[in-house]
Amino acid sequence: MRQSYPAIQTAGATVLAITFESQDHTRNFIARQELPFPFALDPARDSYAAYGLQRGGAMQLSLNPGVAAKTIAIGLRNPGHLAYLAEGPQHDYKQLGGDFVVGPDGRLRYAKASLNAADFAPLADLLAAVKP
């Protein structure tokens, strides 16, 4: 998303991320990934519930080949990732995310609840939804 941010700005949109993770963990993640957009914190996940985002099951997490491959790839690039997983329940790896585009009228132009931990909205779809 870091590389995509200029294209998003050029398209006239802004970005807000919402996370259930802790303040410190989020801050470290942002620094590692060099993310340029703001993060809001929702440890209670009330906004996740309002947007219909659920926790995944085994198939969506560990038994999904795409998720397993991504987890291994991340682990090879970032040893801290495996330590993260080993930290246990304070990091809820079952919580699924989602990507939405909200128009100035307050209505959804795009809505994608992730089907698994490796499922993200394509940038092209987000940019198409941003256009008037």
Partner: protein, 43 residues
């Protein structure tokens, strides 16, 4: 748990604290389209 949202639905409002301080409301973003990213775990 809310039903799965669809294009055209009103986006549910929220008021949350920003990591860098201060509250943020969905209604703060009425001047331009907003890409709203809900994260999974930040590994």
């Amino acid at each position: 748990m809310a039903r799965r949202l669809q294009v055209g639905d009103p986006a549910p409002d929220f008021t949350l604290p920003l990591l860098d301080g201060g509250p943020v409301n969905l209604s703060d973003y009425r001047d331009r389209p907003l890409i709203l990213l809900f994260t999974r775990w930040l590994g």
